[in-house]
């Protein structure tokens, strides 16, 4: 609300992490960069889901469907069986396609609320999976399709032949995509914050907390419900594009029900309705299994990938870990990582209109300073 109240801290709080993120490709191996890219893609998708499920209170199990629409949409629009459009245009079209898919579902999304929408969206995952397998010409069937690289202004974001080096570091596919992913994540962050702090965000919060109050305050209930769904699917579409670019191949089996549940886990761990929380949760859920796979041989109790049956692989171990994380968070920090962060620095933000210490005796004087108010304050 009071943006003017924090003069110097705010730019610094944004710039420092941004500089660090921009410098990372100079220092990290491509394995870590790939983890970062997957996490950024997941973060974009999670922000979309937190708008729908966290802010508007509408459960969706169909998020992986819209990720798939975005991913396959991009591959189709930019690829060979397909119009072969410039990648940037293909990306925009893929996002719009995901939005349109959300729009087609909006008669349901506008009328069905909460849990019930969750069940209704389950159907999308199965329909999507079926379509991905059967529409061979577009999706490549079971084996999927390879993803055409992103290209911006002649620079191909791929391990191309042009041997680009920056400060002596060879810039391959991951390094180049990294900045593209960062830009998309920054765009997502910027727009989602605008939505949440603006008129639509308040209307969605009101819908979640009390449909009755929202409607008598002038919010058209069905229209806002379906809009939230469309916006959420567009973020999912964008996430799908970045995922496709990072994987360099899209396959149907990735976009299953488990992926939808992973996204729900991200926003719960991060704290429902919070953009920063969704990003943090996405990094946690996405990066954890990959990091554990990397260090499987050094971790106690965790076997290396491909070990004989009965041993605990890194993927399973990380699933246990984040299952445990969800339980811990639901029990002790129901507002997630974002709520935890808020509680750890409770007094960092100045209260703009903090009342002077009230003795109770000075009351007539203090109220006379306010001409309109004829009501005295009564602090409990």
């Amino acid at each position: 609300m009071s943006d003017a109240a924090k003069p110097l801290l705010r730019p610094a709080a944004v710039l420092v992490p941004l500089l660090v993120l921009c410098a990372l490709p100079l220092y990290l191996e491509s394995y870590w960069l790939r983890i970062g890219l997957f996490s950024m893609a997941a973060a974009i998708g999670a922000v979309g889901l937190t708008l729908l499920s966290g802010t508007a209170g509408q459960l969706s199990m169909g998020h992986s469907f819209f990720l798939a629409v975005g991913a396959y949409g991009y591959v189709y629009f930019s690829g060979d069986p397909g119009p072969g459009l410039p990648p940037v245009i293909a990306m925009v079209l893929a996002v719009l396609l995901a939005g349109a898919a959300g729009g087609v579902f909006s008669p349901v999304a506008g009328r069905v609320k909460g849990m019930y929408l969750g069940i209704a969206t389950l159907a999308l995952v199965f329909i999507g999976h079926h379509l991905m397998l059967t529409m061979d010409g577009v999706t490549g069937g079971f084996n999927g399709r390879s993803v055409p690289p992103m290209e911006i202004g002649g620079l191909v974001l791929d391990a191309g032949q042009d041997d680009l080096t920056v400060l002596g570091v060879p810039f391959g596919a991951e390094e180049r995509l990294w900045y593209f992913g960062l830009a998309l994540l920054a765009f997502t962050w910027f727009t989602a914050r605008g939505l949440l702090r603006g008129r639509p965000g308040r209307a969605l919060v009101a819908l979640r907390d009390s449909e009755t109050a929202a409607s008598v305050m002038g919010v058209p209930v069905a229209r806002y419900r379906s809009s939230a769904f469309v916006v959420s699917s567009m973020y999912a579409g964008l996430a799908g594009v970045l995922l496709a670019l990072s994987f360099r191949r899209v396959v149907p089996d990735y976009f299953g029900l488990v992926l939808s549940i992973d996204y729900l886990a991200m926003i719960v761990i991060g704290g429902l309705g919070s953009v920063a929380g969704a990003v943090a949760g996405a990094f946690f859920v996405t990066a954890l299994p990959l990091v554990m796979a990397k260090y499987a041989d050094q971790l106690p109790l965790v076997a290396a990938p491909g070990s004989p049956d009965g041993s605990l692989g890194p993927t399973e171990a990380s699933r246990y870990l984040y299952g445990a994380a969800i339980v811990v968070i639901l029990l002790w920090a129901p507002d997630g990582l974002s709520g935890l962060a808020r509680r750890l620095r409770p007094r960092s933000r100045p209260q703009p209109s903090a009342p002077p210490p009230d003795t109770g005796l000075a009351e007539p004087v203090s109220t006379s300073a306010v001409p309109v108010a004829t009501v005295k304050e009564h602090t409990p």
Binding site: M1, G198, R199, V205, S215, G218, A373, T374, H378
Partner: protein
């Protein structure tokens, strides 16, 4: 400051609110039976009656949450029955709830929800922080602060509603309704559950907004003292029927009202604070 012009086709001065022959039934139970009354522009009109008389049902009809099986509600030239609640709100009819219904966030967030019908910023312009959306938000935030001042909430403007006392949360509801710049304000038990000082304060607020903003107020209340002091006209309901109607003094003498409140043989209706 004229922030009201953004609303569509809304009458600037209050019009009469006419309730005519409204009947509401829930699965065989008649909650309202052929109820009629007219709220004169700029007046305070109280709807009273024992528990279960149909007062809240009446409010829900006025704000569009219930559709009557027969009868009409008119506001000036607009027919309200059959309109969705958000359209009724856009015409300048705002309400509060008996049990407080606030949303998460600060007092400011709640009041800005009241500005929803008066503002335009959509998903795209808010997401992209377009200049007109930012400007609109700033201007309406300033007005919301002003309204918080009218009800005495300016100190709490940036505090989360959840941390406020009961009486203050009631005021948040009233301020949120006022943020709609309503021409008709429906108050459902505005002082229920308040202590004496909070009550006095609330009565002052109602008087203030009526004088400053010149709106019509429809009031459901159990506190007879408050009704008698504030209301210009009183409609008494009992078991969904209108049993009396008139000025507070007329209603006070009405034998039907005495019977409904106290049973037969009593002399004066006492305080009916539930």
């Amino acid at each position: 400051m004229n922030l009201r012009t953004t609303a569509t086709a809304r009458p600037e001065t209050p019009r009469p609110l006419e309730v005519e022959g409204v009947t509401v039934r829930f699965a065989g139970l008649t909650a309202l039976d052929d109820v009629s009354f007219t709220v004169a522009p700029g007046s305070v009109h109280a709807v009273i009656g024992p528990n279960g008389a149909g007062k809240s049902t009446c409010f829900n009809v006025l704000s569009g949450l219930y559709r009557p099986v027969s009868g009409t509600v008119r506001y000036g030239e607009h027919l309200l029955t059959g309109l969705a609640p958000h359209r009724i709100a856009a015409l300048g009819v705002a309400r509060t709830f008996q049990n407080i219904v606030t949303t998460e966030g600060t007092v400011g967030d709640n009041l800005m929800l009241g500005r929803h019908a008066l503002t335009r910023a959509g998903f795209v312009s808010s997401a992209l922080h377009l200049p007109h959306a930012v400007r609109e938000q700033r201007a309406h935030l300033a007005r919301a602060r002003e309204i918080a001042g009218i009800v005495g909430l300016e100190r709490h403007f940036d505090q989360p509603v959840a941390l406020l006392s009961y009486g203050d949360r009631k005021r948040v509801e009233m301020a949120r309704a006022l943020c709609l710049e309503p021409r008709v304000l429906l108050l459902d038990e505005p002082v229920a559950g308040m202590n004496t000082t909070e009550r006095t304060a609330a009565v002052e607020v109602i008087r203030t907004v009526r004088e400053q903003l010149g709106l019509s107020i429809v009031l459901v209340e159990h506190d007879m003292g408050l009704v008698m002091r504030l209301a210009d006209e009183v409609t008494v309901l009992d078991f969904g029927r209108r049993i009396a109607h008139g000025t507070p003094d007329e209603v006070r003498q009405d034998p039907e009202v005495l019977r409904a409140y106290l049973g037969t043989g009593a002399d004066t209706p006492g305080k009916e604070a539930a």
